[in-house]
Amino acid sequence: MTTVSEFKIDLLISPKPELRNPEGDTILQDLLLRNNFDYVTSVSVSKVIQLIVKADDLDDAKNKAAIICDELRLYNPLVSSCTIRGTE
């Protein structure tokens, strides 16, 4: 018999690495480098959506989250990538 548990799922929606990330660039140029934190070479701003998902196991929870991402179009695959991470 399978038991249903709750899993914490993070949907990390990031601009595709080959695309510009203006928000990250602005933080790098106008905040970090301007204040001499010149050991930072790149900044990228992403979005995290945290879900608590009821599922049979972690894979099931991730699959359910993936369905939400795609059906509700939480990101545009043309410009962003979505990484699904989870813990029990």
Binding site: P15, K16, E18, L19, R20, P22, E23, D25, T26, Q29, D30, R34, R73, N76, L78, V79
Partner: protein, 736 residues
């Protein structure tokens, strides 16, 4: 010659032959890329240029019209108003957030390129039915893109309009109007006129984003690239700095020429500045600041990386100008110089990789497509819909339809106040008003009506201009100029081209008659369903700017007890073809579209302008989409005040109550007056030969309609408002 020998381009066989004959050789692949970008429909207007010449472009306030980065109008005291319209339809269809945001960014650069500061943005949006989740996703993200960009860059989005039609299911339209102000003596043009000047590329580094963007905008959407190449990334943070750096540089008086990099990137920019200046340019690709390594020369030339401007300056002035850029930490490179060769020459690693006559690149051969009147326009008229039995149900259904529903769901997402000069805000009238100097204001409207234009391209299109004019007149302004944005399907479809031709003819006829100059515009073709090749309905979008001097001349829709009588200016006809009412009743493809009587329209507009000038009218509203009932409800809801009208007092030959309420006849206004002023108004109306009649009065909190003694309906305003106000957000939530 096989097309496969070349890079991925959109040139026709005939165009290739023309290029070869002109050059007396085959172009190499980099040259071909440049020609491809510049000869795209988006940049060259090759299908529309000959017809666009019909539009009247002269006017007493017009300093510069079509052909410049923006239309320029003299608004007295050395001050100029600039205005421009752009669309970003194809990019918004695949990346609604970035597409819409870069659409705003692009039009702001046009205003900046002519030496003026952008002060406001308006948007005209078209989407498919909201029952389709994809359309909801598009709308949500387009609005977010516009809002975020405007908010970040600190320029208010002061108005716009939105409508839905299933013809936009696979082709949303995202149009942006921007206006700017500046000093007449600081105007600058996109020309490289002085041999020896240097070319300075300012702003973002050049990357691979947006490659083939302009060619992509000139194709059907069946060929959408699935990779990043056609996507453009908005950067409002840099844009804000570019605006300030550019304004500083211009204030030195040392800039010879200025142009933004938009569609077609550097390729189009270089050929256009040298063509305008009747010179040549020489550019070294190695000097361009790049974001990515390994970029091919053609990629650098046609990249549409956002937020870039080309400055043309005397080399002796580089130190002074570069200080303006350094102040804002902006990147720039000196990439080349102006020559007398009348050629665009590009070198890379010491090799000449492009050597093309400027005149050839900048002037694509024009195309005159065949025209045939579409068969549907000759189909037999269908009988009118039956008179509805349930008045209340009909009324609520029509008024809460997505096209008529209150649009605050959208404009509440925009910052329309930043700058604190927005005087008439979205929803307060059909036009918005922004202050440009003490006691000097600009009114601006943007309108369209695809349903009217589909059923009757001639009357529909001229009607859109008339409506846009009525909207600025309603806020107390004198219309001074207009912009047209003509959006159609594939021009090689003879039906489509016939409707395009009719549209330009009608806009040109009406503008010439009424005396409003066209100072700019845009054409967007290839808006058709990728699979069925069904074109969108003819969709001209018109923006009209007006000038108001003196705050006492400002008007809105807001009712005030001091002027309790409601008057109707103009006559209502049985013209419900393409109306929101017929559409709600399932009769969207039949009926007589409101006919625009040019003479009547001119007289009605004059009457209202005179009525405002002498202080007769209080609240004023144009009466068009949705008819009398919609216009009146707009006035009541914004004022939180009821009204009572009697349909039998409306000047009209209509017999049915639904026709009186919902007819979208042109040349009509609703206004409020004082009781004691009616005789005065009658005199003015006789002078203008336009019927005017008292149709009711304001007051209370009920919205009541009578037909003589028969009370057709009477409901509390809040009850109706709950339908009209919440409707759009319910559609967006998928609840309706």
């Amino acid at each position: 010659m096989s097309k496969t020998e070349f890079v991925d381009h959109s040139l026709t066989e005939n165009e290739l032959i023309y290029v070869e004959k002109s050059l007396n050789r085959k172009p190499n692949s980099v040259e071909l890329s440049m020609i491809d970008a510049q000869w795209s429909e988006h940049c060259s207007y090759k299908s529309s240029k000959s017809l666009l010449k019909l539009l009247p472009t002269k006017g007493k306030r017009v300093l510069f019209g079509p052909g410049y980065e923006a239309g320029v109008l003299d608004v007295d005291n050395g001050q100029v108003l600039t205005m421009h319209i752009e669309s970003h339809n194809h990019p918004s269809a695949i990346d609604p957030y970035g597409g819409a945001a870069t659409g705003v960014g692009g039009v702001l650069r046009d205003i900046l390129s002519i030496g003026t500061r952008p002060i406001a943005v308006l948007d005209s949006l078209r989407f498919g039915n909201l029952s389709n989740p994809n359309n909801r996703w598009l709308l949500q993200n387009v609005v977010r893109g516009i809002a975020d960009y405007g908010n970040c860059v600190g320029i208010p989005t002061i108005g716009g309009e939105l409508s839905f039609d299933s013809c936009f299911d696979t082709n949303c339209l995202v149009d942006v109007v921007s206006i700017g102000v500046g000093k007449k003596k600081q105007l600058i043009f996109s020309e490289a006129k002085n041999v020896g000047d240097i070319l300075v590329l300012l702003g973002n580094s050049t990357g691979r984003d947006g490659i083939h963007g302009s060619s992509f905008a000139s194709k059907d959407l069946d060929d959408i690239p699935t990779d990043r190449s056609a996507v453009q990334i908005p950067d409002p943070f840099i844009k804000k700095l570019i605006i300030e750096g550019t304004m500083d540089a211009l204030s030195t008086g040392l800039v010879s020429g200025l142009k933004d990099l938009g569609g077609g990137g550097l390729a189009c920019c270089l050929s256009e500045v040298s063509d305008m200046g009747n010179t040549g340019v020489e550019v070294d690709l190695e000097k361009i600041h790049l974001r990515e390594s390994g970029m091919e020369p053609y990629e650098i030339l046609i990249s549409e990386s956002q937020e870039r401007m080309l400055f043309i300056i005397n080399p002796d002035n580089l130190d002074t100008i570069s200080k303006c850029f350094d102040k804002y930490n902006l990147q720039y490179s000196v990439i080349g110089k102006v020559t007398d060769t009348k050629h665009v020459i590009i070198t890379n690693n010491g090799d000449t990789i492009v050597d093309l006559p400027t005149e050839l690149i900048a002037n694509a051969p024009l195309i005159n497509w065949p025209k045939t009147k579409p068969k549907y326009l000759d189909s037999k008229p269908v009988s009118k819909p039956e008179l509805p039995v349930d008045i209340k149900e009909t009324l609520l259904k029509v008024l809460s339809s997505p096209n008529l529903a209150d649009k605050s769901w959208i404009f509440q997402q925009y910052d329309h106040e930043v700058g604190t000069n927005t005087i008439v805000k979205p929803g307060e009238s059909g036009a918005s008003v922004i202050r440009i100097a003490p006691e000097k204001f600009i009114a601006i409207s943007v309108d369209g009506n695809p349903s009217h234009c589909y059923l009757d391209p001639y009357n529909g299109s001229a009607g859109v201009v008339a409506e846009a004019m009525r909207n600025v007149i309603s806020v107390g302004a004198e219309p001074i100029a207009m912009l047209d944005h003509l959006q159609f399907g594939n021009p090689s479809n003879s039906d489509v081209f016939w409707t395009f031709n009719e549209t330009i003819k009608s806009i040109s006829d009406f503008c010439s008659y009424i005396g409003i100059p066209c100072v700019g515009g845009k054409v967007s073709f290839y808006n058709e369903d990728a699979k069925t090749h069904d074109a969108i309905k003819p969709s001209p979008v018109i923006s009209v700017a007006g000038l108001i001097k003196g705050e006492h001349n400002l008007r809105t829709r807001k009712l005030h007890p001091s002027r309790p009588l409601i008057v109707m200016v103009g006559e209502t006809f049985d013209e419900l073809g393409g109306s929101e009412y017929y559409s709600s009743m399932g009769h969207s493809k039949s009926g007589i579209v409101p006919q625009l009587n040019f003479e009547l329209e001119k007289r009605a507009q004059k009457l209202v302008r005179d009525g405002i000038k002498v202080g007769l009218f209080g609240a004023v509203n144009d009466c068009s989409k949705g008819g009398l009932i919609h216009s009146l409800l707009q006035m009541c809801t914004i004022s939180d005040m009821g009204a009572s009208i009697d349909l039998s007092n409306i000047p009209s030959n209509c017999k049915r109550w639904d026709e009186l309420l919902f007819s979208e006849s042109h040349s009509r206004f609703i206004a409020t007056i004082k009781k004691e002023n009616f005789t005065n108004l009658l005199n003015i109306s006789r002078n203008h030969d336009i019927p005017v009649s008292i149709i009711g009065s304001i007051g209370g909190h009920d919205f009541q309609v009578y037909n003589k003694d028969d009370n057709l309906f009477s409901y509390d305003l809040d009850y109706i408002r709950s339908y009209v106000y919440d409707s759009l957000s319910k559609f967006m939530d998928g609840q309706i």
